[in-house]
């Protein structure tokens, strides 16, 4: 309960921030000038991570996963870890369902971004705020 309250406070006092430069660069390197739209992607993380070393993360993408229309890749990015890239997963119609999960590290309270690259080349995304009480990386 105490931790929950602390998490809520962090969320309130956290200033609004522009996307850090490293993340912008990583997104440009990966996707070029293509626009990244919001939607079709669901990113599930705990809202409060007591331990930043192991954060269970699930990404699901709305897609029929047919030969004509499927998810080609799912990328997970960090806003404030030492490196912006976390994980890239490549899929295809043979996966049947575009639902993946992993366990990742969070250095600090921040926003996590998932981007799905579709077979038609369009990019869809979801972002989630996470409060981290005990950092990884130290």
């Amino acid at each position: 309960m105490g931790a929950l309250v602390a998490g809520a406070c962090l969320l309130v006092v956290r200033p609004a921030q522009a996307t850090p430069e490293e993340l912008v660069v990583a997104l440009r390197e990966t996707f070029g000038d293509r626009s990244i739209r919001k939607g079709r992607v669901k990113l599930e993380l705990p809202r409060l991570a007591e331990n930043g070393n192991v954060v269970p993360t699930m990404v699901s993408v709305e897609s029929p996963m047919t030969e004509q229309d499927y998810v080609r890749a799912i990328h997970i990015f960090s806003e404030k870890n030492p490196l912006p890239r976390i994980l890239e997963m490549r899929l295809g119609p043979h996966n049947g369902r575009a639902v993946v999960s992993a366990r990742i590290r969070m250095a600090t309270t921040q926003q996590v971004l998932a981007v799905a690259e579709m077979s038609d080349g369009t990019l869809w995304s979801a972002a989630v705020d996470i409060d981290v009480t005990v950092s990884s990386c130290t």
Binding site: I86, L91, C137
Partner: protein, 110 residues
């Protein structure tokens, strides 16, 4: 420090009906040292991470991943797969020091 990779653990349903979509769970034991930590003396601990993972189904690649230092110790990933025919799933993990681990699991399609 000696290079250590594996063993790996995978969970695949023993059998599935043709066309079923099954969940595949994978994990490899690995320190996945990020390279951003320091020991008690303040010396940096060198990076040692799993960098790639792939899964083939009867020889055809059906899932692959590129991993960065922000993946947790003992990298764990799950994904889905459409059961098409009985065959072997071969899982391969590689790390940045030449370490490699593979695991094979049979999926029976009825």
């Amino acid at each position: 420090m000696t290079s250590r990779i594996g063993p790996a653990r995978v969970r695949v349903p023993e059998q599935a009906k043709k066309g079923d979509i099954v969940e595949i769970r994978t994990m490899v034991e690995h320190p996945n040292e990020s390279g951003f930590r320091h020991d008690n003396m303040g010396r940096p601990i060198p990076r040692h991470i799993v960098t790639s993972f792939s899964c083939t189904y009867n020889g055809k690649e059906v899932f692959s991943a590129t991993l960065h230092p922000a993946v947790s110790t003992n990298p764990y990933m799950t994904f889905h797969l459409r059961a098409v025919e009985t065959g072997d799933l071969v899982f391969t993990w590689k790390d940045d020091q030449g370490g490699i681990t593979t695991a094979t699991q049979k999926l029976a399609v009825v």
